[in-house]
């Protein structure tokens, strides 16, 4: 199974996991890591490397970071190539729920990353506008 490392500013990453567990049950090989504004990049990097070591089951780790360009994602990007990881940004609850099921069958990190990005993007919508359009069509 591909490991899953949630990264965020503040408590968001842990909240993502806690919420997903409530919806679909326990997550194997998954951890949350919060970046605090007190920490230096080296400290964040060291904690990230330790977490990757704990959750890598041989297929590496997919890092799901809260936002593109954020410190957590930037530190993870520095580790690409040095550790068996890939990095996806813009983490959301739908992406995490998708990961829960997709990780059971998909063993390629790149494939899992692509699926999660696509699923995350599909879940962003102007929903009420969509509703109006549907109602007009009907």
């Amino acid at each position: 199974m591909i490991g899953l490392l949630l990264l965020s500013h503040g408590r968001l990453a842990q909240a993502f996991i806690d919420t997903a567990v409530e919806i679909v049950g326990p997550f194997e090989a998954a951890e949350a890591l919060a970046v605090s504004r007190q920490e230096g990049l080296e400290e964040v990097e060291a904690r990230m490397i330790a977490a990757i070591g704990r959750i890598d089951r041989g297929r590496g780790v997919l890092v799901l970071a809260d936002m593109f360009g954020g410190t957590a994602a930037n530190v993870a990007l520095r580790l690409v190539g040095r550790y068996p990881i890939d990095v996806v940004t813009g983490a959301s609850l739908p992406m995490l729920l998708k990961a829960s099921s997709a990780r059971r069958t998909i063993t390629d990190r790149g494939a899992l990353a692509t699926i999660l990005c696509s699923h995350g993007q599909q879940n962003i919508s102007f929903a009420s506008q969509l509703l109006k359009e549907r109602e007009q069509d009907a």
Binding site: H9, S36, R37, Q38, E39, G40, L41, E43, M67, F68, G69, G70, T71, A73, N74, L77, R78
Partner: protein, 288 residues
């Protein structure tokens, strides 16, 4: 962050291009370009690429060594709104030693490490950091701490003033031997009032470090806020560093504004302290 005449801002933040910068500072200052001043980033293609990616095409990003900042700033039209990001205070000094001229620098993020003291959650200062801040101040550069664009800028040194921190002889920082009538006035906390007036610096050496320390400690005991300034530029009188930047020599007439509970009594007590030359007496050549 105060408006920069040249449209160029300077900040210490080892996170470089990241969320606080792109979501806060870039829009609030209307920045068009970021100059990353860090020899490690300039020499590491991966790190430079991460910086450029993180800017998401909202601003231009240029990565240079600290020694190249002046040249990098001159590459664009004048008036271009730029921010120079340093990873450390030491990096700022390297840039200055190579000819960069700046008037103010924002310390936005310095992480905790062994031997550092927390000033605010995002800024921790080591003894060396404080020494650099002293040297920057001596060069006439205003150093202030402001992690977020919405934060109030604050003075990095006076908030944790202690003997060892500033390497000022201990007798200068001990409780000044004020006469009984110079103690903090009884606070009648029944009004939020404001008293302003002009007070003259009458001691022979002016508002030098010791005198400024006496004034800052005196003002620090007051419940009211005290601002001191000249020509419309005010500093917080509870800030030693702020007071020393006034450069108020003997005979200088300072505008003093006291706001808050007990303002009237506080102003009178300050008038007494000024008149006594901050307990140094009245010098020659002053009007008092």
């Amino acid at each position: 962050m105060p408006e920069s005449l040249s449209g160029t801002f300077f900040r210490v933040d080892p996170r470089l291009v990241h969320a606080t910068l792109m979501s806060g500072w870039v829009p609030s200052l209307g920045l068009e370009r970021l100059v990353i001043a860090c020899r490690d980033v300039a020499a590491d293609r991966r790190l430079a690429t991460i910086c450029r990616m993180s800017a998401m095409d909202q601003v231009l990003v240029r990565c240079v060594r600290e020694e190249q900042v002046s040249d990098a700033l001159a590459e664009v039209r004048s008036g271009c709104r730029q921010m120079v990001l340093f990873v450390s205070l030491a990096g700022v000094e390297r840039a200055l030693d190579s000819g960069l001229q700046i008037d103010a620098i924002n310390v936005g993020h310095l992480p905790r490490a062994d031997g550092t003291k927390m000033l605010v959650p995002a800024v921790h200062l080591s003894a060396e950091d404080r020494a650099v801040i002293d040297r920057l101040t001596e060069r006439g550069i205003r150093v202030y701490v402001q992690p977020l664009a919405d934060d109030d800028p604050r003075d990095p040194l006076t908030d944790e003033l202690s003997t060892s921190d500033l390497q000022i002889p201990s007798d200068l920082l001990s409780e000044p031997d004020l006469p009984p009538d110079a103690g903090a006035p009884e606070i009648k906390d029944d009004s939020k009032d404001r008293v302003a007036g002009v007070l003259e610096v009458v001691n022979e050496r002016g508002l030098h470090l010791r005198a400024a320390s006496v004034l800052a400690q005196f003002a620090g005991k007051l419940a009211a806020s005290v601002e001191v300034g000249q020509g419309g530029d005010f500093v917080n009188a509870k800030s030693l560093l702020g007071l020393t930047t006034l450069g108020a020599g003997p005979g200088t007439k300072l505008d003093v504004v006291v706001t808050g509970p007990g303002a009237k009594d506080a102003f009178e007590a300050l008038r007494g302290l000024f008149a006594r030359g901050f307990e140094e007496g009245v010098g020659r050549g002053t009007g008092a």
